[in-house]
Symmetry: C2
Subunit: 310 residues, 2 copies
Protein backbone atom coordinates (compact mmCIF):
# COMPACT_ATOMS: atom_id res chain seq x y z
CA UNK A 1 0.00 0.00 0.00
CA UNK A 2 1.22 3.44 -0.85
CA UNK A 3 1.87 6.21 1.66
CA UNK A 4 0.50 4.37 4.66
CA UNK A 5 -3.11 5.15 3.78
CA UNK A 6 -5.75 2.84 5.16
CA UNK A 7 -8.03 1.11 2.62
CA UNK A 8 -11.80 1.44 3.08
CA UNK A 9 -12.67 -1.66 1.09
CA UNK A 10 -11.39 -4.19 -1.43
CA UNK A 11 -12.96 -4.75 -4.82
CA UNK A 12 -12.47 -7.82 -7.00
CA UNK A 13 -13.31 -8.61 -10.61
CA UNK A 14 -13.47 -12.40 -10.57
CA UNK A 15 -14.11 -13.93 -13.94
CA UNK A 16 -13.97 -17.25 -15.73
CA UNK A 17 -10.26 -17.03 -16.41
CA UNK A 18 -8.78 -14.23 -14.32
CA UNK A 19 -8.86 -12.49 -10.97
CA UNK A 20 -8.13 -8.84 -10.23
CA UNK A 21 -8.15 -7.25 -6.79
CA UNK A 22 -7.81 -3.64 -5.68
CA UNK A 23 -7.61 -2.03 -2.26
CA UNK A 24 -9.26 1.39 -2.40
CA UNK A 25 -9.93 4.31 -0.10
CA UNK A 26 -13.36 5.79 0.51
CA UNK A 27 -13.00 8.11 -2.50
CA UNK A 28 -12.18 5.20 -4.81
CA UNK A 29 -8.45 5.85 -5.12
CA UNK A 30 -6.51 2.64 -5.73
CA UNK A 31 -3.98 1.94 -2.99
CA UNK A 32 -2.84 -1.53 -4.07
CA UNK A 33 -3.53 -3.98 -6.87
CA UNK A 34 -3.13 -7.71 -7.52
CA UNK A 35 -3.70 -9.68 -10.73
CA UNK A 36 -3.73 -13.46 -10.94
CA UNK A 37 -4.85 -16.35 -13.14
CA UNK A 38 -7.20 -17.63 -10.46
CA UNK A 39 -10.29 -17.98 -12.62
CA UNK A 40 -13.36 -19.95 -11.60
CA UNK A 41 -12.11 -23.47 -12.26
CA UNK A 42 -8.78 -22.94 -10.53
CA UNK A 43 -10.45 -21.21 -7.59
CA UNK A 44 -13.11 -23.87 -7.15
CA UNK A 45 -10.34 -26.45 -6.78
CA UNK A 46 -8.32 -24.39 -4.29
CA UNK A 47 -11.34 -23.04 -2.43
CA UNK A 48 -12.71 -19.56 -3.21
CA UNK A 49 -12.23 -18.29 0.34
CA UNK A 50 -8.61 -19.46 0.47
CA UNK A 51 -7.82 -17.82 -2.87
CA UNK A 52 -9.37 -14.50 -1.87
CA UNK A 53 -7.84 -14.41 1.62
CA UNK A 54 -4.43 -15.28 0.21
CA UNK A 55 -4.48 -12.37 -2.21
CA UNK A 56 -5.87 -9.99 0.45
CA UNK A 57 -3.07 -11.00 2.83
CA UNK A 58 -0.45 -10.50 0.12
CA UNK A 59 -1.62 -6.88 -0.15
CA UNK A 60 -1.61 -6.45 3.65
CA UNK A 61 -5.38 -5.98 3.89
CA UNK A 62 -6.86 -5.91 7.42
CA UNK A 63 -8.91 -8.93 8.46
CA UNK A 64 -12.11 -6.91 8.74
CA UNK A 65 -11.83 -5.04 5.42
CA UNK A 66 -15.10 -5.48 3.49
CA UNK A 67 -14.88 -6.92 -0.04
CA UNK A 68 -17.17 -6.41 -3.01
CA UNK A 69 -16.87 -8.80 -5.95
CA UNK A 70 -18.23 -8.70 -9.48
CA UNK A 71 -18.13 -11.19 -12.32
CA UNK A 72 -18.72 -14.88 -12.84
CA UNK A 73 -17.87 -15.65 -9.18
CA UNK A 74 -21.55 -14.84 -8.65
CA UNK A 75 -22.82 -17.30 -11.26
CA UNK A 76 -24.29 -20.71 -10.55
CA UNK A 77 -20.86 -22.22 -11.30
CA UNK A 78 -19.09 -19.67 -9.06
CA UNK A 79 -18.62 -19.17 -5.32
CA UNK A 80 -22.10 -18.16 -4.19
CA UNK A 81 -24.84 -17.50 -6.71
CA UNK A 82 -26.06 -13.91 -6.86
CA UNK A 83 -29.29 -14.42 -8.82
CA UNK A 84 -29.98 -12.11 -11.75
CA UNK A 85 -31.87 -8.88 -11.14
CA UNK A 86 -34.44 -8.23 -13.86
CA UNK A 87 -34.35 -5.03 -15.89
CA UNK A 88 -35.45 -2.31 -15.70
CA UNK A 89 -33.27 -1.93 -12.61
CA UNK A 90 -31.67 1.02 -10.85
CA UNK A 91 -28.40 0.86 -8.88
CA UNK A 92 -30.13 0.60 -5.49
CA UNK A 93 -32.17 -2.39 -6.66
CA UNK A 94 -29.09 -4.08 -8.05
CA UNK A 95 -27.05 -3.58 -4.88
CA UNK A 96 -29.91 -4.66 -2.62
CA UNK A 97 -29.70 -8.04 -4.36
CA UNK A 98 -25.97 -8.51 -3.76
CA UNK A 99 -25.23 -11.96 -2.33
CA UNK A 100 -23.41 -12.12 1.01
CA UNK A 101 -20.92 -14.92 1.52
CA UNK A 102 -22.20 -16.97 4.48
CA UNK A 103 -20.24 -18.43 7.40
CA UNK A 104 -17.26 -16.07 7.20
CA UNK A 105 -16.44 -13.24 9.57
CA UNK A 106 -15.43 -10.84 6.77
CA UNK A 107 -18.22 -8.91 5.01
CA UNK A 108 -18.01 -10.14 1.41
CA UNK A 109 -20.69 -9.33 -1.17
CA UNK A 110 -21.11 -10.33 -4.81
CA UNK A 111 -22.86 -7.95 -7.22
CA UNK A 112 -25.64 -9.75 -9.13
CA UNK A 113 -25.90 -9.91 -12.91
CA UNK A 114 -28.85 -8.52 -14.88
CA UNK A 115 -31.48 -10.44 -16.82
CA UNK A 116 -34.00 -9.39 -19.44
CA UNK A 117 -37.17 -11.46 -19.80
CA UNK A 118 -39.63 -11.56 -22.68
CA UNK A 119 -39.25 -11.83 -26.45
CA UNK A 120 -35.55 -10.99 -26.37
CA UNK A 121 -34.15 -12.82 -23.33
CA UNK A 122 -30.70 -11.71 -22.30
CA UNK A 123 -28.23 -11.81 -19.43
CA UNK A 124 -25.08 -10.01 -18.33
CA UNK A 125 -22.71 -10.61 -15.43
CA UNK A 126 -19.82 -8.23 -14.79
CA UNK A 127 -20.89 -5.46 -17.15
CA UNK A 128 -23.55 -4.32 -14.65
CA UNK A 129 -20.73 -3.21 -12.34
CA UNK A 130 -19.15 -1.10 -15.08
CA UNK A 131 -22.59 0.41 -15.60
CA UNK A 132 -22.86 1.17 -11.87
CA UNK A 133 -19.59 3.08 -12.16
CA UNK A 134 -20.67 4.93 -15.28
CA UNK A 135 -23.99 6.00 -13.76
CA UNK A 136 -22.31 6.90 -10.45
CA UNK A 137 -20.08 9.33 -12.34
CA UNK A 138 -22.97 10.73 -14.42
CA UNK A 139 -25.95 11.07 -12.10
CA UNK A 140 -29.24 10.90 -13.97
CA UNK A 141 -27.51 9.64 -17.14
CA UNK A 142 -29.69 8.59 -20.06
CA UNK A 143 -28.23 7.10 -23.20
CA UNK A 144 -26.69 4.18 -25.01
CA UNK A 145 -23.64 2.27 -23.76
CA UNK A 146 -21.56 -0.05 -25.95
CA UNK A 147 -19.43 -2.61 -24.12
CA UNK A 148 -17.42 -4.57 -26.71
CA UNK A 149 -15.91 -7.94 -25.96
CA UNK A 150 -16.38 -11.65 -26.40
CA UNK A 151 -20.09 -10.98 -25.97
CA UNK A 152 -20.63 -7.28 -26.70
CA UNK A 153 -23.37 -5.65 -24.68
CA UNK A 154 -25.41 -2.66 -25.89
CA UNK A 155 -27.27 -1.12 -23.01
CA UNK A 156 -30.00 1.52 -22.85
CA UNK A 157 -29.92 3.57 -19.65
CA UNK A 158 -32.79 5.89 -18.73
CA UNK A 159 -32.31 8.38 -15.92
CA UNK A 160 -29.68 6.21 -14.25
CA UNK A 161 -31.66 3.01 -14.61
CA UNK A 162 -30.72 0.10 -16.88
CA UNK A 163 -33.80 -0.35 -19.05
CA UNK A 164 -32.88 -2.95 -21.70
CA UNK A 165 -29.92 -4.48 -23.49
CA UNK A 166 -28.78 -6.78 -26.26
CA UNK A 167 -25.76 -8.98 -26.87
CA UNK A 168 -23.68 -9.46 -30.02
CA UNK A 169 -21.50 -12.56 -30.23
CA UNK A 170 -18.84 -10.52 -32.04
CA UNK A 171 -15.63 -11.36 -30.19
CA UNK A 172 -16.43 -15.03 -29.88
CA UNK A 173 -17.50 -15.33 -33.50
CA UNK A 174 -14.34 -13.59 -34.69
CA UNK A 175 -12.19 -16.01 -32.68
CA UNK A 176 -14.11 -19.06 -33.92
CA UNK A 177 -13.98 -17.96 -37.56
CA UNK A 178 -10.31 -16.95 -37.45
CA UNK A 179 -9.17 -20.01 -35.53
CA UNK A 180 -11.54 -22.88 -36.32
CA UNK A 181 -13.36 -22.28 -39.62
CA UNK A 182 -12.30 -22.59 -43.28
CA UNK A 183 -11.02 -19.01 -42.85
CA UNK A 184 -8.26 -20.22 -40.53
CA UNK A 185 -6.26 -21.13 -43.65
CA UNK A 186 -6.49 -17.49 -44.73
CA UNK A 187 -5.75 -15.94 -41.33
CA UNK A 188 -3.48 -18.34 -39.50
CA UNK A 189 -1.79 -17.03 -36.38
CA UNK A 190 -2.40 -13.32 -37.06
CA UNK A 191 -5.95 -13.24 -35.66
CA UNK A 192 -4.82 -11.07 -32.75
CA UNK A 193 -3.56 -7.60 -33.31
CA UNK A 194 -5.62 -6.16 -36.15
CA UNK A 195 -4.38 -2.66 -36.97
CA UNK A 196 -7.16 -0.07 -36.98
CA UNK A 197 -5.43 1.71 -39.89
CA UNK A 198 -5.24 -1.39 -42.09
CA UNK A 199 -7.10 -0.59 -45.32
CA UNK A 200 -8.77 -4.01 -45.21
CA UNK A 201 -10.28 -3.23 -41.80
CA UNK A 202 -11.84 -0.17 -43.41
CA UNK A 203 -12.88 -2.23 -46.43
CA UNK A 204 -14.55 -4.80 -44.16
CA UNK A 205 -16.37 -2.02 -42.30
CA UNK A 206 -17.50 -0.40 -45.52
CA UNK A 207 -18.86 -3.70 -46.82
CA UNK A 208 -20.71 -4.35 -43.58
CA UNK A 209 -22.32 -0.91 -43.57
CA UNK A 210 -23.98 -1.34 -46.97
CA UNK A 211 -27.73 -1.79 -46.36
CA UNK A 212 -28.70 -5.43 -46.77
CA UNK A 213 -25.24 -6.73 -45.86
CA UNK A 214 -25.30 -10.40 -44.82
CA UNK A 215 -22.40 -11.54 -42.64
CA UNK A 216 -23.37 -15.18 -43.25
CA UNK A 217 -23.33 -14.60 -47.01
CA UNK A 218 -20.03 -12.63 -47.10
CA UNK A 219 -17.57 -14.51 -44.89
CA UNK A 220 -16.57 -17.05 -47.54
CA UNK A 221 -15.44 -14.20 -49.81
CA UNK A 222 -12.41 -13.81 -47.52
CA UNK A 223 -11.43 -17.39 -48.40
CA UNK A 224 -12.08 -16.73 -52.09
CA UNK A 225 -10.08 -13.50 -51.86
CA UNK A 226 -7.09 -15.49 -50.65
CA UNK A 227 -7.43 -18.15 -53.37
CA UNK A 228 -8.12 -15.76 -56.24
CA UNK A 229 -6.54 -12.44 -55.31
CA UNK A 230 -3.69 -13.34 -52.99
CA UNK A 231 -5.28 -11.69 -49.94
CA UNK A 232 -2.57 -11.94 -47.26
CA UNK A 233 -3.11 -13.25 -43.73
CA UNK A 234 -3.00 -9.88 -42.02
CA UNK A 235 -5.30 -8.45 -44.69
CA UNK A 236 -7.75 -11.33 -44.22
CA UNK A 237 -7.72 -10.89 -40.42
CA UNK A 238 -8.34 -7.15 -40.81
CA UNK A 239 -11.13 -7.72 -43.35
CA UNK A 240 -12.84 -10.26 -41.06
CA UNK A 241 -12.52 -7.94 -38.06
CA UNK A 242 -14.01 -5.06 -40.05
CA UNK A 243 -16.88 -7.25 -41.24
CA UNK A 244 -17.91 -8.57 -37.83
CA UNK A 245 -17.44 -5.33 -35.88
CA UNK A 246 -19.06 -3.40 -38.73
CA UNK A 247 -22.00 -5.80 -38.70
CA UNK A 248 -22.50 -5.13 -34.98
CA UNK A 249 -22.17 -1.36 -35.38
CA UNK A 250 -24.51 -1.25 -38.35
CA UNK A 251 -27.22 -3.26 -36.63
CA UNK A 252 -26.92 -1.26 -33.40
CA UNK A 253 -27.24 2.01 -35.36
CA UNK A 254 -30.27 0.78 -37.29
CA UNK A 255 -32.02 -0.23 -34.06
CA UNK A 256 -31.16 2.85 -31.99
CA UNK A 257 -33.68 5.69 -31.88
CA UNK A 258 -32.71 8.48 -34.28
CA UNK A 259 -32.31 11.01 -31.47
CA UNK A 260 -29.47 8.99 -29.96
CA UNK A 261 -26.33 10.41 -31.51
CA UNK A 262 -23.71 9.54 -28.93
CA UNK A 263 -22.55 6.21 -27.55
CA UNK A 264 -20.60 5.69 -24.34
CA UNK A 265 -17.92 3.27 -25.51
CA UNK A 266 -16.60 1.20 -22.61
CA UNK A 267 -13.35 -0.20 -23.99
CA UNK A 268 -9.56 0.07 -23.80
CA UNK A 269 -6.56 -0.08 -26.09
CA UNK A 270 -6.82 -1.74 -29.48
CA UNK A 271 -10.45 -2.73 -28.94
CA UNK A 272 -11.36 0.88 -28.24
CA UNK A 273 -9.69 2.05 -31.46
CA UNK A 274 -11.37 -0.60 -33.64
CA UNK A 275 -14.82 0.04 -32.17
CA UNK A 276 -14.51 3.84 -32.22
CA UNK A 277 -13.74 3.69 -35.93
CA UNK A 278 -16.62 1.28 -36.56
CA UNK A 279 -19.16 3.24 -34.51
CA UNK A 280 -18.19 6.50 -36.15
CA UNK A 281 -18.45 4.90 -39.59
CA UNK A 282 -21.95 3.71 -38.63
CA UNK A 283 -22.94 7.27 -37.70
CA UNK A 284 -22.45 7.43 -33.92
CA UNK A 285 -20.41 9.93 -31.95
CA UNK A 286 -18.27 8.20 -29.32
CA UNK A 287 -17.32 9.08 -25.77
CA UNK A 288 -14.75 6.61 -24.52
CA UNK A 289 -14.89 5.23 -20.98
CA UNK A 290 -11.78 3.19 -20.18
CA UNK A 291 -12.96 -0.36 -19.48
CA UNK A 292 -10.53 -1.14 -16.63
CA UNK A 293 -11.28 2.19 -15.02
CA UNK A 294 -15.01 1.49 -15.33
CA UNK A 295 -14.67 -1.76 -13.36
CA UNK A 296 -12.84 -0.02 -10.51
CA UNK A 297 -15.30 2.86 -10.50
CA UNK A 298 -18.13 0.35 -10.48
CA UNK A 299 -16.72 -1.52 -7.52
CA UNK A 300 -16.28 1.81 -5.73
CA UNK A 301 -19.87 2.80 -6.56
CA UNK A 302 -21.02 -0.58 -5.25
CA UNK A 303 -19.01 -0.18 -2.01
CA UNK A 304 -20.43 3.33 -1.59
CA UNK A 305 -23.96 2.03 -1.97
CA UNK A 306 -23.41 -1.05 0.17
CA UNK A 307 -21.49 0.46 3.09
CA UNK A 308 -20.63 4.17 2.96
CA UNK A 309 -24.15 5.52 2.45
CA UNK A 310 -25.69 3.41 5.21
CA UNK B 1 -21.90 -55.21 -61.94
CA UNK B 2 -25.49 -56.12 -62.55
CA UNK B 3 -26.77 -58.26 -65.42
CA UNK B 4 -23.50 -58.50 -67.27
CA UNK B 5 -23.78 -55.01 -68.76
CA UNK B 6 -20.59 -53.30 -69.81
CA UNK B 7 -19.87 -49.93 -68.22
CA UNK B 8 -19.14 -46.99 -70.51
CA UNK B 9 -17.27 -44.96 -67.91
CA UNK B 10 -16.62 -44.53 -64.20
CA UNK B 11 -17.45 -41.38 -62.26
CA UNK B 12 -15.99 -40.42 -58.88
CA UNK B 13 -16.90 -37.78 -56.34
CA UNK B 14 -13.62 -37.35 -54.46
CA UNK B 15 -13.81 -34.93 -51.58
CA UNK B 16 -11.88 -33.86 -48.52
CA UNK B 17 -13.20 -36.67 -46.38
CA UNK B 18 -14.89 -39.25 -48.61
CA UNK B 19 -14.73 -41.07 -51.92
CA UNK B 20 -17.62 -42.37 -54.00
CA UNK B 21 -17.31 -44.26 -57.26
CA UNK B 22 -19.90 -45.43 -59.78
CA UNK B 23 -19.68 -47.50 -62.92
CA UNK B 24 -22.29 -46.30 -65.40
CA UNK B 25 -23.51 -47.17 -68.87
CA UNK B 26 -23.74 -44.70 -71.70
CA UNK B 27 -27.23 -43.61 -70.63
CA UNK B 28 -26.07 -42.87 -67.09
CA UNK B 29 -27.57 -45.92 -65.41
CA UNK B 30 -25.55 -46.99 -62.38
CA UNK B 31 -24.16 -50.52 -62.76
CA UNK B 32 -21.99 -50.65 -59.64
CA UNK B 33 -21.12 -48.42 -56.71
CA UNK B 34 -18.34 -48.11 -54.10
CA UNK B 35 -18.11 -45.79 -51.09
CA UNK B 36 -14.98 -45.35 -48.97
CA UNK B 37 -13.36 -43.04 -46.46
CA UNK B 38 -10.46 -42.31 -48.79
CA UNK B 39 -10.54 -38.54 -48.57
CA UNK B 40 -7.72 -36.31 -49.75
CA UNK B 41 -5.32 -36.74 -46.84
CA UNK B 42 -5.65 -40.53 -46.72
CA UNK B 43 -5.36 -40.77 -50.51
CA UNK B 44 -2.30 -38.54 -50.72
CA UNK B 45 -0.53 -40.86 -48.28
CA UNK B 46 -1.51 -44.05 -50.14
CA UNK B 47 -1.12 -42.55 -53.61
CA UNK B 48 -4.15 -41.26 -55.55
CA UNK B 49 -3.62 -43.61 -58.48
CA UNK B 50 -3.35 -46.67 -56.23
CA UNK B 51 -6.52 -45.73 -54.35
CA UNK B 52 -8.53 -45.19 -57.52
CA UNK B 53 -7.24 -48.32 -59.29
CA UNK B 54 -7.92 -50.41 -56.19
CA UNK B 55 -11.54 -49.34 -56.05
CA UNK B 56 -11.97 -49.75 -59.83
CA UNK B 57 -10.57 -53.28 -59.62
CA UNK B 58 -12.87 -54.14 -56.72
CA UNK B 59 -15.82 -53.29 -59.00
CA UNK B 60 -14.37 -55.30 -61.88
CA UNK B 61 -13.82 -52.28 -64.11
CA UNK B 62 -11.87 -52.88 -67.34
CA UNK B 63 -8.37 -51.43 -67.48
CA UNK B 64 -9.27 -49.03 -70.28
CA UNK B 65 -12.51 -47.65 -68.78
CA UNK B 66 -12.36 -43.84 -68.76
CA UNK B 67 -12.89 -42.09 -65.44
CA UNK B 68 -14.27 -38.63 -64.70
CA UNK B 69 -13.72 -37.16 -61.23
CA UNK B 70 -15.22 -34.17 -59.46
CA UNK B 71 -14.49 -32.56 -56.09
CA UNK B 72 -11.48 -31.52 -54.09
CA UNK B 73 -9.26 -34.09 -55.85
CA UNK B 74 -8.90 -31.30 -58.43
CA UNK B 75 -7.79 -28.66 -55.91
CA UNK B 76 -4.24 -27.50 -55.35
CA UNK B 77 -4.05 -29.89 -52.39
CA UNK B 78 -5.52 -32.75 -54.44
CA UNK B 79 -4.24 -35.15 -57.09
CA UNK B 80 -3.80 -32.87 -60.08
CA UNK B 81 -5.00 -29.30 -60.00
CA UNK B 82 -7.86 -28.46 -62.36
CA UNK B 83 -7.67 -24.66 -62.28
CA UNK B 84 -10.91 -22.75 -61.74
CA UNK B 85 -12.95 -21.71 -64.76
CA UNK B 86 -14.27 -18.17 -64.43
CA UNK B 87 -17.97 -17.45 -64.60
CA UNK B 88 -19.96 -16.82 -66.69
CA UNK B 89 -19.26 -20.32 -68.01
CA UNK B 90 -21.26 -22.83 -70.03
CA UNK B 91 -20.88 -26.62 -69.78
CA UNK B 92 -18.65 -26.91 -72.85
CA UNK B 93 -16.24 -24.31 -71.46
CA UNK B 94 -16.13 -26.07 -68.11
CA UNK B 95 -15.47 -29.49 -69.62
CA UNK B 96 -12.84 -28.14 -72.01
CA UNK B 97 -10.85 -27.13 -68.91
CA UNK B 98 -10.97 -30.59 -67.31
CA UNK B 99 -7.51 -31.68 -66.14
CA UNK B 100 -6.16 -34.95 -67.54
CA UNK B 101 -4.06 -37.10 -65.23
CA UNK B 102 -0.62 -37.40 -66.89
CA UNK B 103 1.58 -40.45 -67.23
CA UNK B 104 -1.13 -43.08 -66.89
CA UNK B 105 -2.57 -45.26 -69.63
CA UNK B 106 -6.17 -44.86 -68.44
CA UNK B 107 -8.07 -41.71 -69.56
CA UNK B 108 -8.79 -39.93 -66.26
CA UNK B 109 -10.15 -36.35 -66.16
CA UNK B 110 -10.97 -34.02 -63.28
CA UNK B 111 -13.77 -31.48 -63.68
CA UNK B 112 -12.57 -27.97 -62.72
CA UNK B 113 -14.22 -25.77 -60.10
CA UNK B 114 -15.70 -22.37 -60.86
CA UNK B 115 -14.44 -18.96 -59.75
CA UNK B 116 -16.06 -15.54 -59.68
CA UNK B 117 -13.80 -12.50 -59.85
CA UNK B 118 -14.56 -8.90 -58.93
CA UNK B 119 -16.24 -7.26 -55.96
CA UNK B 120 -17.71 -10.51 -54.67
CA UNK B 121 -14.98 -13.12 -55.21
CA UNK B 122 -16.17 -16.68 -54.84
CA UNK B 123 -15.24 -20.26 -55.64
CA UNK B 124 -16.90 -23.66 -55.83
CA UNK B 125 -15.51 -27.14 -56.43
CA UNK B 126 -17.84 -30.10 -56.72
CA UNK B 127 -21.11 -28.21 -57.02
CA UNK B 128 -20.30 -27.32 -60.66
CA UNK B 129 -20.73 -31.01 -61.51
CA UNK B 130 -24.18 -31.10 -59.90
CA UNK B 131 -24.98 -28.03 -61.99
CA UNK B 132 -23.78 -29.80 -65.16
CA UNK B 133 -26.24 -32.59 -64.35
CA UNK B 134 -29.08 -30.19 -63.65
CA UNK B 135 -28.54 -28.25 -66.88
CA UNK B 136 -28.06 -31.47 -68.87
CA UNK B 137 -31.51 -32.58 -67.72
CA UNK B 138 -33.11 -29.17 -68.39
CA UNK B 139 -31.63 -27.87 -71.65
CA UNK B 140 -31.68 -24.06 -71.78
CA UNK B 141 -32.51 -23.80 -68.08
CA UNK B 142 -32.56 -20.32 -66.52
CA UNK B 143 -33.12 -19.81 -62.82
CA UNK B 144 -31.83 -19.96 -59.29
CA UNK B 145 -30.27 -23.04 -57.71
CA UNK B 146 -29.80 -23.47 -53.95
CA UNK B 147 -27.20 -26.04 -52.88
CA UNK B 148 -27.20 -26.24 -49.07
CA UNK B 149 -24.31 -27.65 -47.13
CA UNK B 150 -21.25 -26.72 -45.11
CA UNK B 151 -20.82 -23.85 -47.54
CA UNK B 152 -24.20 -23.30 -49.20
CA UNK B 153 -24.05 -22.14 -52.81
CA UNK B 154 -26.73 -20.03 -54.49
CA UNK B 155 -26.25 -20.07 -58.23
CA UNK B 156 -27.83 -18.06 -61.02
CA UNK B 157 -28.06 -19.95 -64.31
CA UNK B 158 -28.97 -18.19 -67.55
CA UNK B 159 -29.84 -20.25 -70.60
CA UNK B 160 -27.76 -23.19 -69.36
CA UNK B 161 -24.78 -21.03 -68.42
CA UNK B 162 -23.59 -20.43 -64.83
CA UNK B 163 -23.59 -16.64 -64.57
CA UNK B 164 -22.86 -15.85 -60.89
CA UNK B 165 -23.06 -17.30 -57.40
CA UNK B 166 -22.68 -16.64 -53.71
CA UNK B 167 -21.75 -18.72 -50.67
CA UNK B 168 -23.30 -18.81 -47.20
CA UNK B 169 -21.23 -20.31 -44.39
CA UNK B 170 -24.40 -21.78 -42.89
CA UNK B 171 -23.49 -25.41 -42.22
CA UNK B 172 -20.04 -24.60 -40.91
CA UNK B 173 -21.30 -21.77 -38.70
CA UNK B 174 -24.02 -23.99 -37.26
CA UNK B 175 -21.46 -26.67 -36.39
CA UNK B 176 -19.05 -24.15 -34.83
CA UNK B 177 -21.76 -22.46 -32.77
CA UNK B 178 -23.35 -25.71 -31.62
CA UNK B 179 -20.07 -27.43 -30.83
CA UNK B 180 -17.50 -24.77 -29.92
CA UNK B 181 -19.21 -21.58 -28.76
CA UNK B 182 -20.94 -20.55 -25.52
CA UNK B 183 -24.05 -22.13 -27.08
CA UNK B 184 -22.50 -25.59 -26.76
CA UNK B 185 -23.67 -25.60 -23.13
CA UNK B 186 -27.23 -25.12 -24.36
CA UNK B 187 -27.06 -27.63 -27.22
CA UNK B 188 -24.63 -30.34 -26.17
CA UNK B 189 -24.61 -33.50 -28.21
CA UNK B 190 -27.94 -32.95 -29.97
CA UNK B 191 -26.59 -30.66 -32.69
CA UNK B 192 -27.29 -33.30 -35.35
CA UNK B 193 -30.76 -34.35 -36.18
CA UNK B 194 -32.90 -31.24 -35.90
CA UNK B 195 -36.55 -32.14 -36.53
CA UNK B 196 -38.17 -30.00 -39.23
CA UNK B 197 -41.44 -30.10 -37.28
CA UNK B 198 -39.91 -28.86 -34.00
CA UNK B 199 -41.74 -25.66 -33.03
CA UNK B 200 -38.42 -24.03 -32.13
CA UNK B 201 -37.13 -24.58 -35.67
CA UNK B 202 -40.17 -22.67 -36.89
CA UNK B 203 -39.64 -20.03 -34.18
CA UNK B 204 -36.01 -19.58 -35.26
CA UNK B 205 -37.09 -19.24 -38.89
CA UNK B 206 -39.78 -16.72 -38.00
CA UNK B 207 -37.30 -14.63 -36.02
CA UNK B 208 -34.79 -14.69 -38.85
CA UNK B 209 -37.37 -13.60 -41.44
CA UNK B 210 -38.28 -10.39 -39.61
CA UNK B 211 -36.81 -7.48 -41.61
CA UNK B 212 -33.69 -6.14 -39.89
CA UNK B 213 -32.89 -9.47 -38.19
CA UNK B 214 -29.26 -9.65 -37.04
CA UNK B 215 -27.87 -13.15 -36.60
CA UNK B 216 -24.85 -11.74 -34.72
CA UNK B 217 -27.16 -9.88 -32.35
CA UNK B 218 -29.59 -12.77 -31.74
CA UNK B 219 -27.45 -15.85 -31.14
CA UNK B 220 -26.78 -15.13 -27.46
CA UNK B 221 -30.53 -15.14 -26.80
CA UNK B 222 -30.41 -18.93 -27.16
CA UNK B 223 -28.01 -19.04 -24.21
CA UNK B 224 -30.19 -16.61 -22.25
CA UNK B 225 -33.26 -18.68 -23.12
CA UNK B 226 -31.64 -21.69 -21.52
CA UNK B 227 -30.60 -19.78 -18.37
CA UNK B 228 -33.88 -17.89 -17.92
CA UNK B 229 -36.58 -19.98 -19.55
CA UNK B 230 -35.31 -23.54 -19.36
CA UNK B 231 -34.92 -23.91 -23.13
CA UNK B 232 -34.00 -27.59 -23.58
CA UNK B 233 -31.07 -28.86 -25.65
CA UNK B 234 -33.13 -30.12 -28.55
CA UNK B 235 -35.14 -26.88 -28.53
CA UNK B 236 -31.94 -24.82 -28.52
CA UNK B 237 -30.51 -26.84 -31.42
CA UNK B 238 -33.72 -26.42 -33.40
CA UNK B 239 -33.85 -22.68 -32.65
CA UNK B 240 -30.25 -22.22 -33.78
CA UNK B 241 -30.85 -24.24 -36.94
CA UNK B 242 -33.93 -22.15 -37.74
CA UNK B 243 -32.02 -18.92 -37.15
CA UNK B 244 -29.05 -19.72 -39.37
CA UNK B 245 -30.96 -21.39 -42.21
CA UNK B 246 -33.62 -18.67 -41.97
CA UNK B 247 -30.94 -16.01 -42.16
CA UNK B 248 -29.62 -17.57 -45.38
CA UNK B 249 -33.09 -17.95 -46.90
CA UNK B 250 -34.10 -14.41 -45.98
CA UNK B 251 -30.99 -12.85 -47.46
CA UNK B 252 -31.20 -14.96 -50.62
CA UNK B 253 -34.86 -13.92 -51.12
CA UNK B 254 -34.09 -10.24 -50.57
CA UNK B 255 -31.31 -10.35 -53.17
CA UNK B 256 -33.11 -12.42 -55.81
CA UNK B 257 -34.94 -10.54 -58.58
CA UNK B 258 -38.66 -10.36 -57.84
CA UNK B 259 -39.56 -12.36 -60.97
CA UNK B 260 -37.71 -15.39 -59.61
CA UNK B 261 -40.34 -17.40 -57.75
CA UNK B 262 -38.92 -20.88 -57.88
CA UNK B 263 -35.66 -22.31 -56.56
CA UNK B 264 -34.10 -25.60 -57.62
CA UNK B 265 -33.18 -27.07 -54.23
CA UNK B 266 -30.30 -29.55 -54.58
CA UNK B 267 -30.47 -31.47 -51.31
CA UNK B 268 -31.43 -34.80 -49.75
CA UNK B 269 -33.04 -36.16 -46.62
CA UNK B 270 -33.20 -34.04 -43.49
CA UNK B 271 -31.31 -31.15 -45.09
CA UNK B 272 -33.84 -31.04 -47.92
CA UNK B 273 -36.75 -30.87 -45.45
CA UNK B 274 -35.20 -28.10 -43.35
CA UNK B 275 -34.30 -25.98 -46.36
CA UNK B 276 -37.61 -26.53 -48.15
CA UNK B 277 -39.45 -25.25 -45.09
CA UNK B 278 -37.08 -22.26 -44.77
CA UNK B 279 -37.20 -21.34 -48.45
CA UNK B 280 -40.99 -21.57 -48.53
CA UNK B 281 -41.22 -19.43 -45.40
CA UNK B 282 -39.00 -16.86 -47.15
CA UNK B 283 -41.36 -16.80 -50.12
CA UNK B 284 -39.80 -19.18 -52.65
CA UNK B 285 -41.40 -22.14 -54.34
CA UNK B 286 -39.13 -25.19 -54.28
CA UNK B 287 -38.37 -27.91 -56.79
CA UNK B 288 -36.20 -30.54 -55.14
CA UNK B 289 -33.32 -32.15 -56.98
CA UNK B 290 -31.87 -35.05 -55.00
CA UNK B 291 -28.24 -34.15 -54.23
CA UNK B 292 -26.73 -37.63 -54.66
CA UNK B 293 -28.62 -38.08 -57.88
CA UNK B 294 -27.38 -34.69 -59.09
CA UNK B 295 -23.74 -35.74 -58.62
CA UNK B 296 -24.24 -38.92 -60.65
CA UNK B 297 -26.16 -37.07 -63.35
CA UNK B 298 -23.40 -34.46 -63.43
CA UNK B 299 -20.69 -37.07 -63.86
CA UNK B 300 -22.76 -38.64 -66.65
CA UNK B 301 -23.22 -35.23 -68.30
CA UNK B 302 -19.47 -34.66 -68.02
CA UNK B 303 -18.69 -38.08 -69.54
CA UNK B 304 -21.15 -37.39 -72.34
CA UNK B 305 -19.48 -34.07 -73.09
CA UNK B 306 -15.94 -35.43 -72.76
CA UNK B 307 -16.24 -38.69 -74.67
CA UNK B 308 -19.62 -39.64 -76.10
CA UNK B 309 -20.25 -36.51 -78.15
CA UNK B 310 -16.82 -36.50 -79.77
Amino acid sequence: MSQGQEPAFAGADWGTSRFRLWLMDRAGNVLAEKRADDGLDASRAKGFSQVLEGHLASLGAPGDLPVVICGMAGSRQGWVEAPYVHVPANPATILAAAARIPDVSRDIRIVPGLAQQGERPNVMRGEETQLLGLVHGKPGFSGLVAMPGTHSKWVYVEDGRVSRFSTYLTGELYALLAGQSILRHSIGAVAEGVDVDHPEFTAGLTTALVPGFSLLGSLFEIRAGMLLNGLTQDAAAARLSGMVIGSEASDARSKAPADIKTVQLVASGRMERLYRKALQAAGFDCETVDADDAVRKGLHAAATGLWFLL
